[in-house]
Amino acid sequence: MLTWMAWTWPTAFVFIGIFSAMAVLTVLEIRHPGGDERRGILGLTTTRGDRLFISLLGSVYIFLAWLGLMGEPLWIPLGLAIAWGVFCFWKV
């Protein structure tokens, strides 16, 4: 049934990761409603969901920029993306 979707393990893990993050946010939201809204250092009012979105979108650009300018391997941009995610949840 799923052959037409041409799944591979690496892409499956990407989506499992994103959906797990969303599940974690859902659990957090049920435990602590309100989305933990705050005004971060970029002057934006963000909730937990916004911060996840900014982390993911930023990571996409970190990887694309590295791939376009430097090429593979992608360990350094992986580190940068994780750092960016931590920064987003901590300060933004």
Binding site: T3, W4, M5, A6, W7, T8, P10, T11, V14, F15, P33, R39, G43, L44, T45, F53, L57, V60, Y61, L64, L67, G68, G71, E72, L74
Partner: protein, 287 residues
Amino acid sequence: MKTQNNRGWFFVLPVLLLVAFNALIPIMTVVNYSVQETFGNNVFFWQGLDWFQQLLNSDRFHAALGRQFLFTGLILVIEIPLGIIIALSMPRQGVWVPVCLVLMALPMLIPWNVVGAMWNIFTLPDIGLLGYLMNHTLGINYDMTQNPLAAWVTIITMDVWHWTSLVVLLSYAGLVSIPDAYYQAAKIDGASNWSVFRYIQLPKMKTVLTIAILLRFMDSFNIYTEPFVLTGGGPGNSTTLLSIDLVKIALGQFDLGPAAAMSLIYFAITLLVSWLFYTLMTKDDAK
């Protein structure tokens, strides 16, 4: 703690299912395609990030992306101010209001491929009204199948003709919602027309203008049908915008892997620009 009623989620469920089937599952499939090579028959070969790397360093992609930004930039710079000016000059009451509104709405009712075909015939040098006028009456060499500049002028004019109305109608909706008291106060203070526009009308139109700019950005950035029917991306590649190039790669060359990678980069750009713009425009409202 306040008791929360979560029954509302059930009402969102149908939309969620719909979005899953028409957006989420297709986009997951595109992600899967973007790391593989296929020759059909559901046979795939792992390719890793080769397509992305190839695309990011491809002159063809850079050129199409540049043309796309030029097109979107030009139509925003023309359509937004023009739409505001037309909305400001439209009557606010009387019998001419419905006439103006219907006239404004007409171009938007025409299907995109028909708009392309109309403008194609309109600009033909031998039989088209505009083409004949330019070439035979005014003596200006105007042939969009030969001259890239003519092709660009035509697709920009066509988009302005087709979509400025959207900006007009949204701005007009913003304008008519301003209570008379504001204008009276401005009159008592002796405010100039510019001050009235700058401090009353523009701030009141901000929300609808945000929507108008976002819609025009996304629509023009993803535009396919009209330029495809009008110029087919030519002459040469001079009007090959991102979407036209994407379809050439996906359906013309049947390179589904590279096309999937290109779609994802295309999507990331649309997402980033829309998010940045929306965030910047609504930043002050949250204060």
